[in-house]
């Protein structure tokens, strides 16, 4: 029977030859992840289940990310609970403050997510890992606890939505703009319960960093997962990460059959996509930046699991050039992981941001969810490279959040109001590893 990549992965881990959308299957999990917000409740549920040990201490990742470094006593206690569990259960992949960062950028970097695997994360943006050709989805703490106890999870096999990208991204256009334009077309629940499969020559042109942004926001369309069939670029990235981390495992990649069935197919002309911006308070309210009036902003946030990889910081630094941040604007730059921070530092990017008047921080989810490191006050306007602009997401419920890519973010920080990057950098640029010109 012809099957999609998602169906093949689920079938293999369910010990079956094939599966059909809509049926419920019990699957073996390759990696289970939780963070400082979701792990404590998962530990409580795990203890209630009564299993003495996690099913496999080598297949669990615990990451201090959301409130890290601890912002107050209560969050310090959450991290203490996670830390104690990691020690007690001898969890191999425990990433504490100063050794990790935001899980969705960290785990691919650490070569801990591989093609053909099933990754279950207690965080909604766990769909990110699908950029490497695995099935990955977000769950709550109790589901994660059951995985910790048994190594298995029940999953309803999702229908797949095939998104075929043609053309090549233009100037300033990155993965963020592709996914925002798709969400604007299909709506905040346009892919509800589905697997979004991103294919076509447009994807071949995307860097791994951009691809990870594309799958990161599957959840903003209500999808269960986002997936990109692995290609030469994927395997090259994995080989590089395996080399850097010394983690070498066999790859078991899978691909969709050419005649696999899809519930829906969407065609996207990448040539026609401009840098996008999502207006408050839903990601689906995305329009080309050129259509938005010159709105004054109080804060610009370059960070989060969506856009705080090295490519994002290089693009931001390129737009910044020798300019400075507009006088009334606060610019927060938060590299996603310790490695990204070190790389950006080695390249002189952090110094450039700081010299321009930006606040540069150690890795954390921080401002994205209004946790700390840049919480918004009443009525403030923020342009953020993150993934959600819901009411109250980044702080006070009367604050307004716009979502865009790092080029638009930095251009806005320099101009002091929402502008197209061309306004700050009219010259054509080609950046290594990033498709900017």
């Amino acid at each position: 029977m012809a099957q999609t990549i998602t169906e093949k992965i689920l079938a293999r881990r369910a010990g079956r030859t094939d599966v059909e959308p809509g049926e419920i299957v019990m699957c073996k999990v390759d990696l289970a992840m939780a963070n400082d917000v979701t792990a404590p409740a998962a530990v409580t549920a795990f203890n209630k289940i009564g299993a003495p040990r996690v099913w496999d201490r080598h297949k669990v990742a615990l990451v201090a990310s959301h409130f890290a470094p601890a912002k107050d006593i209560a969050s310090a206690k959450l991290m203490t609970r996670m830390r104690a569990f990691a020690i007690e259960q001898e969890i191999e992949h425990f990433f504490d403050v100063g050794r990790g960062g935001i899980e969705h950028i960290l785990l691919p970097e650490e070569a801990l997510v591989l093609p053909g695997e099933i990754i279950i994360g207690a965080d909604s943006h766990s769909c990110t890992y699908g950029a490497l050709g695995c099935f990955s989805t977000g769950v709550g703490s109790t589901d994660l606890a059951a995985v910790l106890a048994t190594g298995e999870i029940w999953l309803r096999v999702p229908e797949s939505m095939k998104i075929v990208y043609s053309g090549r991204p233009g100037r300033w256009v990155v993965g963020k703009d592709l996914i925002l334009s798709v969400i604007a077309r299909i709506g905040d629940d346009g892919a509800r319960y589905m697997a979004m499969e991103h294919t076509g020559e447009g994807i071949a042109h995307l860097s791994m960093d951009s691809r990870l942004t594309l799958t990161n926001m599957a959840i903003e369309a209500g999808a269960k997962s986002g997936i990109i069939p692995p290609d030469a670029r994927t395997f090259g990235y994995i080989a590089e990460r395996q080399e850097a981390t010394g983690r070498h495992s066999e790859l078991e990649p899978l691909h969709s059959d050419p005649d696999a069935a899809y519930a829906q197919t969407l065609e996207v002309d990448v040539d026609a996509i401009e840098p996008m911006i999502a207006k408050p308070s839903l990601p689906s309210r995305a329009v080309p930046v050129s259509e938005v009036e010159r709105m004054k902003v109080d804060q610009v946030f370059i960070g989060s699991c969506t856009n705080a990889r090295i490519e994002d910081l290089r693009i931001a630094a390129h737009v910044l050039g020798e300019e400075v941040v507009a006088p009334h604007v606060r610019l927060m730059v938060i590299p996603a992981t310790q490695r990204v921070w070190q790389q950006a530092n080695a390249e002189g990017l952090l110094e450039r941001f700081a010299a321009a008047g930006a606040a540069v921080s150690t890795p954390t989810c921080g401002a994205c969810l209004g946790a700390h490191m840049g919480v918004l006050g009443p009525g403030e306007v923020c342009l953020s490279t993150s993934n959600r602009n819901y009411v109250g997401r980044m702080g006070d419920p009367t604050a307004q959040v716009y979502l865009a890519n790092p080029a638009v973010a930095m251009a806005t920080a320099v101009a002091g109001a929402i502008v197209h990057p061309d306004e700050v950098r009219p010259d054509v640029i080609e950046l290594e590893g990033a498709l900017v010109g």
Partner: protein, 159 residues
């Protein structure tokens, strides 16, 4: 009654995620959407809302906050999948029934019967039979949530 896309950030904002205490979470349930909710909700109330209820963050604190505030069930046109799983796992009754949402007005007496897959608006005297939950999921409901269900599964594997 609320509209479409009630996300988990408005159900329980991240500023309260430093606790897992149900009563603390309950005191702030829905406060960014409806500041009067926590003070006006009555034990056993049913929340009725539009499409994609519970979208966004996977925080289980969301169904826990609603349940803690006294909400007995949520009837929505549709649910976001992570919230739906979290509700089943933690014992909050959820039912997707767009017809019931369309016909219901604030203050109506609404009754949800998960086992029979039925939503009744007692005020208007109308009943609906939405698609029942899969038998597999009903097993988890009948077990009292995912913790006892998993516990039972492990015990039966051991014996």
């Amino acid at each position: 009654m609320y509209g479409d896309n009630v996300d988990t950030d408005v159900i329980i904002p991240a500023r309260y995620l430093t606790t897992t205490d149900e009563s603390v979470l309950a005191a702030h349930a829905l406060e960014d959407l409806d500041p009067s909710f926590a003070s006006s909700v009555q034990e056993g109330d049913v929340v009725v809302a539009g499409a994609n209820f519970g979208c966004g963050s996977s925080r289980e604190h969301a169904p826990v906050a609603l349940k803690g505030a006294g909400v007995s069930a949520v009837v929505a046109s549709s649910f976001a999948r992570i919230f739906f799983r979290n509700a089943i796992n933690t014992g909050l009754v959820v039912m997707a029934c767009p017809e019931a949402v369309a016909a219901t007005e604030p203050g109506d007496a609404v009754c949800v019967d998960l086992a029979k897959a039925e939503v009744r608006n007692e005020t208007k005297g109308i009943a609906w039979k939405p698609e029942p939950l899969p038998e597999f999921v009903m097993d988890i409901v009948r077990a009292g949530g995912l913790v006892p269900w998993t516990k039972g599964r492990l015990e039966s594997q051991r014996s």
